[in-house]
Symmetry: C2
Subunit: 138 residues, 2 copies
């Protein structure tokens, strides 16, 4: 497909990278917050749509990753979208409790970046409440 066709078609044609993966953004249906960022392959896309529970591809384990399968904190799929050039997926999810980060936090994005007056970049914690203790879960 050329660029224009990719942007207008309703035929799915995900642009996988050399490893067969496509980036996936996961947000909370409740709060709109970005919970995590991971990768899917074709199998993960299929499984997610089929089971309505989000599956990723674990790059560290080189295997399909049914998020929450062991902890019980699965991500229920509310909606899946793909972007204009079909090289990124966005899933909206519900989960209970809402804790997507392996550190025990709601979101993996618990540190913000700012620039101080002298030009250095500082990081500080934000939204960093622990929803669960990783020691209890993993």
């Amino acid at each position: 497909m050329d660029k224009h066709e990719l942007e207008t078609t309703t035929n799915l044609s995900p642009k996988f990278d050399n490893n067969g993966l496509i980036p996936c953004i996961t947000t909370s249906a409740k709060t709109g917050k970005v919970l995590m960022f991971a990768y899917m392959n074709q199998q993960a896309i299929d499984k997610t749509l089929e089971t309505k529970e989000v599956h990723y591809w674990s790059r560290s384990r080189s295997s399909l990753w049914h998020k929450g399968a062991s902890s019980g904190m699965v991500q229920k799929l509310v909606e899946m979208r793909i972007d204009c050039d079909q090289d990124c997926i966005w899933v909206t999810v519900e989960m209970q409790p809402e804790a997507s980060c392996h550190t025990g936090r709601q979101s993996c994005f618990y540190r913000k970046l700012e620039r101080s007056d002298n030009g250095t970049i500082t990081m500080s914690y934000i939204d960093d409440e622990l929803i669960f203790d990783p020691k209890d879960v993993y």
Copy 2:
């Protein structure tokens, strides 16, 4: 830095890929919607924090990309975060009008994916209102 240090430090240490890039998720401060997905390099991170206007790295043009510089639809930075393992950036932005996709739409994610009963995946348009006509802008 080892994994634990990456997750807990307040020293910025982005994990750039082989091309010196890190993925960046952009959401609307107003609606929480994912507007777009792109990449940053160190220079784009620095410029974004310095100018409070979002800069990316354009992979197609191989150059720093000050989003909206030519169209006037710049993305004002509200907040920048980084994830647990420091391999993804999340920026929250304000822009007027809110139109981040080069197709003229608010968001690049204007098609949703669903699975029909016979197992095929279907795509359909959603939130696909044109905020501007690309012909007028580019």
